[in-house]
């Protein structure tokens, strides 16, 4: 039986409020449970960790093997803490169907070339750092994790910023590739600053503004153009939080879940 563990994934959870434009609204929403929010943030970390770990043995330099694995490990640690707030971490990771995952679509995007991986990381880590900053300052259920994960995420962002600068302001080829990656993933960034159901005490407008400022400054310093299109409020933004994912995600799950599911009830 591969049904839901305790909490959210089986029922129709994660009701995301109507999109309020790319910038979001002011106050955080509480229309959802803490478990809903833990699942959303946990799935972000779980899925991005998985993508980063796919680099093992394929990175462009030995130093990057170490760095990308560091990121993957930090995120996996965050995911385990968050999923454990909801239920059994392994049941949640390995036994849910695709539609029950609540991660944003950005994190499931394939690694592509190194520039795509870096662009994805820049977008995500900038968002995550701002989110942890706000949550660490509050006294909600995520404050302890946010305090611990904040410095990790600051390193992730720093790594992404450093590489965005090197690739953007490196060679003509690297600049082209970095710009292409920045453009290609832009469409998935609107979802990052949408309110997460069950996550109270977040000023989403401030988060969206901070994100645009930090990402914009990095891209400009890297001599790259900040994308203007497609609009970040297109229909796809907000999909992941409702369990609407992109095609590559099903394959990611097939690979991630197959061994666990092939031995029902086994312990590892």
């Amino acid at each position: 039986m591969n049904g839901p563990a305790t909490g959210g994934p089986g029922r129709a959870t994660g009701v995301v409020p109507e999109a309020a434009g790319a910038a979001g609204t002011t106050a955080g929403t509480a229309s959802g449970t803490t478990e809903d929010a833990a699942l959303a943030l946990g799935d972000d970390a779980l899925v991005l960790s998985h993508r980063l770990a796919e680099w093992a043995g394929h990175a462009p330099a030995l130093e990057e093997e170490v760095a990308l694995a560091n990121l993957a490990l930090d995120l996996l640690g965050q995911a385990r803490t968050l999923l454990t707030m909801v239920g059994d971490e392994d049941r949640l990771a390995f036994c849910r169907q695709e539609r029950a995952f609540r991660n944003v679509q950005l994190v499931e995007q394939p690694n592509g070339d190194f520039a795509h991986t870096i662009a994805r990381q820049l977008y995500f880590s900038t968002y995550q750092e701002l989110l942890w900053e706000q949550l660490a300052a509050g006294d909600g259920p995520f404050a302890p994790l946010a305090a611990k994960a904040g410095p990790e995420t600051a390193y992730h962002r720093d790594h992404a910023v450093t590489w965005t600068l090197r690739l953007g302001d490196g060679t003509r080829l690297s600049r082209e590739r970095m710009q292409r990656a920045v453009d290609a993933l832009w469409r998935y960034t609107g979802e990052l600053t949408r309110p997460v159901a069950g996550l109270a005490g977040v000023d989403w407008a401030a988060l969206a503004a901070g994100w645009a400022e930090r990402v914009g400054a990095t891209l400009r310093a890297a001599t790259l153009t900040v994308p203007e299109a497609p609009a970040r409020a297109v229909w796809s933004a907000g999909g992941g939080r409702q369990g609407i994912h992109t095609e590559p995600f099903g394959r990611l799950l097939a690979e991630m879940q197959h061994l666990h599911r092939s031995h029902p009830g086994a312990r590892w």
Binding site: A56, E64, E65, V66, A69, L73, L76, D169, T171
Partner: protein, 314 residues
């Protein structure tokens, strides 16, 4: 001629002290060390592949975290070791070129495939176990930077070996299918693990000189015997069988006897005829070639920004 120039070197070796990068050393000593350290570094980075093969399919999040950390350690070991080789005047990119061109070897063990999850356990227990037996004496190697790198590496390797043992223990005591998976992996990895110690003493041309220089402290056969003696009781406590009908305790020798090793297979794999030689080297080359533009960008960026005056207005 050597006697005069390298007297200090000989005295340092004789006194059991360390040779350091700036010390005078015979060119053959330097060349032997570069070759051995490079081969060791290459083994670490090629060795990432068979285990990375299972990261995305790890059956629990705890196991996944352990495996990512282990593969990361191997990349880190590669870094220390290339660093140690650089203290001898070698360059990492040149050593990698030699690996990619097939002119330098890596441990043949990594030319076998990881077919099931249990192989991750077997690699940890047997392959890392054999590596530890090989490497612990290298912590006392006469060349300082290598010895220090090995001290660090051995600490991490013993964690790797324990996780492999523990992984197999869970499988061995798990479902029937899991137990079979564990036994099958041990059956496939046992003999290649014994081959990791290299050819028998009579056929190991470099052993004598390496021992005189205190790079190597024990012969291949001595280390192989030590490994067998360590592993046999561990197999029993795992509830798994080692696939050698001739394996038994010899009271007289105070060691385990074991059956003949198929050296024809060893030499075939060494020649490039193993199941994964082409695959492993192919992936390594591909990663290197596909990463070239990234490394070039980093170099161009560093050069441009180093050239710029400090405190640039931007």
């Amino acid at each position: 001629m050597h006697e005069g120039v390298y007297r200090e070197f000989e005295e340092t070796i004789a006194a059991g002290e360390r040779i350091e990068p700036r010390d005078a050393m015979p060119p053959e000593y330097r060349a032997t060390l570069i070759r051995q350290i490079a081969q060791h570094a290459h083994s670490e980075i090629i060795g990432m592949q068979p285990e990375a093969n299972w990261i995305t399919r790890a059956p629990s999040l705890r196991r996944k975290a352990i495996l990512i950390a282990k593969v990361q350690d191997e990349a880190g070991h590669g870094l220390y070791l290339y660093g140690a080789a650089e203290t001898l005047g070698a360059r990492r990119d040149e050593l990698l070129d030699r690996l990619h061109a097939g002119r330098q070897k890596y441990s043949s063990i990594f030319n076998y495939p990881t077919l099931t999850w249990a192989d991750v356990g077997a690699i940890g227990w047997l392959v890392d176990g054999a590596a530890i037996v090989n490497q612990v004496p290298l912590c006392r190697c006469s060349y300082g930077p290598y010895a220090r790198a090995m001290t660090r590496i051995c600490k991490e390797e013993s964690f790797h070996q324990r996780q492999g043992y523990e992984l197999l223990l869970a499988l061995s005591h798990g479902t029937e299918e899991q137990h079979e998976m564990a036994q099958d992996a041990v059956n496939r990895w046992w003999w290649p693990s014994l081959m990791m110690f290299g050819p028998p003493d009579g056929e190991s041309p470099r052993t004598e000189r390496s021992m005189a220089w205190k790079i190597k402290r024990h012969t291949n056969d001595e280390l192989r015997q030590r490994f067998v003696d360590i592993v046999v009781p561990q197999a029993a406590s795992l509830g798994l069988t080692l696939p050698d009908p001739l394996l038994r305790w010899n009271e007289e020798r105070g060691h385990h006897d074991f059956g003949p090793i198929d050296w024809a297979e060893f030499h075939a794999v060494l020649r490039g005829e193993g199941p994964c030689n082409a695959q492993r080297l192919g992936q390594r080359r591909r990663a290197h070639e596909e990463g070239a533009w990234v490394r070039e960008a980093a170099a161009a960026y560093a050069a441009r920004h180093a050239a710029r005056p400090a405190g640039r207005a931007a």
